[in-house]
């Protein structure tokens, strides 16, 4: 049932996979070694739950012997000597690493537009669903000039899964970086509880908020990957010690009458698009009509979370980036007049504006005279935000239901009209408080917008109740039956592979 192992793929699947591998560089940096070499080594024995399953990994995870850049000049050519724990776990289960995916530089951004390899294009830009809607509106003939962003910062991973180049991809989530692109690309984007999955080898943005994220086309796939990844890691002192029950099986909920869904009222903001709001309402109604209790809850400190996040994030960034000086690894400038001059030039050349801006902000907040007023204050506010969630869950709520993003994906040209910081502040609004509180959350694709683009909704669960959260999400996914992306080429080649247009995805389960 789980992890059907692809021993010797048939001709059709092989050529299909080969075509998918010719993905444009901005999405996927392909591993040179052919994944099919792996098959000959298999000798017919299943390696694990993910045996033979192609996966992609965001380029801020360390991969042994494979360049890891974080989409930054600072790490161009950097080849780590070790695998991140999550990467190792996937490989141990037999997964095939297809490539490292593009991102915003050092995972700072909400569009996947600010990396040195260029922006990531949302595969939905080329979908039949979107193109048909656009033909109805008289726009410019140049079809490619208004392609859409994927969201970020794990945009490359989202595009890779969305375009069928792999079954699952690892992202990272610090303020919504997995859930945001998942919503824009019509995918399941899962953020586990902080401490459930090891961060060893994940090049950090904010150590106290980062988690590895999982992007898949359906909830069951996400659960399988989580089962492979979850568990304590002696190399990461922030993972919790309790062993995880494996395998990570999701029951199929028969009914939701025992469930209590919470709707946080502060999340109804004026910037929320009417389409998303409408879907959010419909989702709440759906639960209610199926017997669940749906109540309004309050998370009173929501409005402070963006500012609080800004202080804590930039402070940790300033600290985490201090190691990039060109001395041990990575980019080093040509100046060798003095150590200080070398450091300064290396860091100026290696980091983009976004990274440098955050470092400067962070250093400001950490100055002795500012520390109490900014950093410590932000920590206190963080505690209040986390307590908001605790109170909501203590009032009997099992799961919170919120939007993931303010609207559907926007065109790149429109996105770049505002700077990175402004965009991040806007786009992280529903996702970022979850990272402050360390809770599990998942974005589920719900329906297409009037423009034919995906819209997702977010479920937030109690700490370490990831399984329960995914169970609810799975039930919801079954109800909404989100359509498969219709990529012209794909449909022509693979009608044989896809049994049914209405399938939510090409699932790992058979």
């Amino acid at each position: 049932m789980l992890g059907r192992s692809l021993r010797e793929p048939d001709f059709e699947t092989k050529s299909w996979l080969r075509r998918r591998m010719s993905c444009p560089p901005p999405v996927l940096k392909l591993i040179s070694a052919s994944p099919f070499i792996h098959y000959t080594k298999c000798r017919g024995q299943s390696l694990g739950d993910l045996d033979g399953i192609p996966i992609a990994v965001k380029d801020n995870f360390s991969t042994s012997g494979i360049e890891t850049t974080c989409a930054s000049n600072m790490l161009k050519g950097y080849i780590p000597p070790y695998n991140a724990t999550v990467v190792q776990k996937l490989l141990d289960q037999g997964a095939l690493l297809m490539g490292k995916t593009n991102l915003d530089e050092f995972a700072m951004g909400s569009g996947s537009t600010d990396g040195v390899f260029g922006p990531v294009k949302n595969p939905w830009s080329y979908s039949k669903q979107y193109r048909e809607k656009r033909k109805q509106n008289p726009h410019s003939e140049n079809e490619d000039s208004d392609w859409l962003i994927t969201g970020g910062s794990s945009g490359g991973s989202a595009a890779a899964v969305s375009a069928f180049t792999c079954y699952a991809a690892l992202g990272s989530d610090t303020g919504g970086s997995t859930r945001n692109p998942a919503a824009h690309c019509g995918l399941v984007g899962f953020k586990p509880s902080y401490g459930l999955v090891s961060r060893h080898g994940l090049i950090p943005l904010v150590n106290s908020m980062d988690v590895p994220g999982i992007l898949t086309r359906c909830v069951d796939d996400a659960a399988i990957v989580l089962g492979a990844l979850a568990g304590p890691d002696p190399r990461d002192s922030t993972t919790v010690h309790e062993p995880i029950n494996k395998p990570f099986m999701l029951p199929s909920l028969a009914d939701v009458s025992k469930l209590c869904i919470g709707i946080p009222k502060e999340y109804l903001v004026p910037e929320l698009s009417s389409e998303v709001q409408s879907l959010w309402s419909k989702a709440a109604d759906l639960f209610e009509s199926e017997g669940a209790k749906v109540i309004e809850v309050s998370l009173p400190h929501t409005s402070y979370s963006i500012v609080c996040y800004h202080v804590l994030c930039t402070s940790e960034v300033a600290s985490n980036m201090a190691r990039f000086d060109g001395l041990q690894y990575g980019h080093r400038c040509d100046i060798d007049v003095s150590t200080e001059a070398m450091y300064a030039a290396t860091r100026r050349e290696g980091f983009n504006d976004v990274v440098r801006g955050r470092i400067l902000s962070g250093n400001f907040f950490l100055l002795k005279e500012n520390y109490e007023n900014y950093f410590v204050k932000a920590q206190k506010v963080r505690r209040l935000i986390a307590n908001d969630f605790v109170n909501a869950f203590n009032s009997g709520v099992d799961v919170l239901l919120t939007p993931t993003t303010l609207s559907e994906a926007v065109p790149y040209l429109e996105f770049i009209k505002e700077d990175n910081r402004t965009r991040s502040a806007q786009d992280d609004i529903f996702t970022q408080a979850v990272n402050m509180a360390g809770l599990p959350a998942v974005s589920i694709p719900v329906a297409l917008s009037n423009q034919g683009l995906p819209i997702g909704l977010q479920f937030i669960g109690r700490a370490f109740c990831d399984q329960q959260l995914l169970t609810v999400a799975k039930w919801f996914e079954k109800q909404v039956q989100f359509p498969v992306i219709q990529l012209q080429e794909l449909m022509d080649d693979c009608s044989a592979v896809l049994e049914n247009e209405k399938l939510a995805s090409v699932s790992l389960k058979q």
Binding site: F61, R199, T238, S319
Partner: protein, 512 residues
Amino acid sequence: MAAPMLRWGCRGRRWAFARVDGGSCHRRGAPTGSTSNQIRGESSVAQQPLHTAQKTRKGEHKWAAVVGLEIHAQISSNSKLFSGSQVRFSAPPNSLVSFFDASLPGTLPVLNRRCVEAAVMTGLALNCHINKKSLFDRKHYFYADLPAGYQITQQRLPIAVNGSLIYGVCAGKKQSQVIPKTVRIKQIQLEQDSGKSLHDNLRSQTLIDLNRAGVGLLEVVLEPDMSCGEEAATAVRELQLILQALGTSQANMAEGQLRVDANISVHHPGEPLGVRTEVKNLNSIRFLAKAIDYEIQRQINELENGGEILNETRSFHHKLGCTMSMRDKEGKQDYRFMPEPNLPPLVLYDATSLPAGADPQQVINIDQIRETLPELPSVTREKLVQQYGMLLEHSFTLLNEVGLLEFFQNVIKETRAEPKKVTSWVLNTFLGYLKQQNLAVSESPVTPSALAELLDLLDSRTISSSAAKQVMDVKNRNPRAINKLIGLVRKATQSRADPVMIKEILEKKLSL
């Protein structure tokens, strides 16, 4: 922006370049030399309390000096504080460096249990309160021997606080009285050591060796309760003995396992404390005392000449016998302390708070450690006094000299002479000779057995006291004594024997 400095308030003249012993040593600018830590800024020692140690000096006013110490002791452990790479002295450069030590992105710190135990043991031995919860912080500055751009330390809440160290200062006419003094221990914290940088001025390059980067350190902060070089040196010596007795650090200053920074200021008794300077990286007990006394005198001279003391860092140059300013830039460092997010709070337990069914590998029980503490030097000295009836100051000498206690105990084992006799011979004759010849106990030509035998002969009145001394002289290869023997043999052979041959035979017989 920086914290306001205590100024002495002298108007008028600025730097008066006063002549001091050993030539004029006041010089600004970057020092030459190879030690690291050159651009480290202010320390994190708290403000000094009002203290009025008396120190009478010649001159119109009395001056009081106030000395505090920050001592870094390398923890004796197999691996480093946060990573599994080995701890070894004098290994080939960059051969003991893990991914974490090299600050490879994505690596995380994992706390070493042995280092925590060492900290608890040391804290208990120094009468500290052990904090059941302590925290780790990042201290940021850029330097080539600090790969991550920050050091992991314990600034907010260290592992042990509020202890005391009792040390004995020799005083009295013949330095034969031991006066016990106490210095308060402000705190003990765990932190990482940095790598080593070697400046190659010839080729205009700096070579970095990260073998030491990440090695566990215990920083022991001594409050400014000391008043001169001798007190500081004695306190450090006692701390060394304690650490060695515990096994938590080998505390060998020459090998860099124990490094001391001194904070020194002077003031008139009854008046507020003066501006302090920090003298860094003193790597022998002798230089420590010298440097502190020099600095005290320098400050006094400076102030008596109407100058002012700058709150700065200075290094001691032992060849010149003076301290020199290390500052090469204005302003103080802001270390931008931040909690270390990758390490949860360190929680320790005692017998009452230990959770039931806890994995012993994962918890540390303070009470258990207290019960298994090795014998401390103060107890050893007490026992010596009780057991052998020696004076307290004798016991101090026995412990202060490396290897002497073991020597003494071995002699006691093998001889039937009275302990008091043994004490006298070991401390006076034996030690006296070693000092004269500038030898360590381990280099002594006289073995414990030999001395034991000699004392037995003395005890049975087979030989006289003066004869015994002569034998010692011979055994210690005192040329005059040997020549005397040769002379005696020649006499006995009526000047017929060849002196060279006599010497050879004698040396063989005496197994010299």
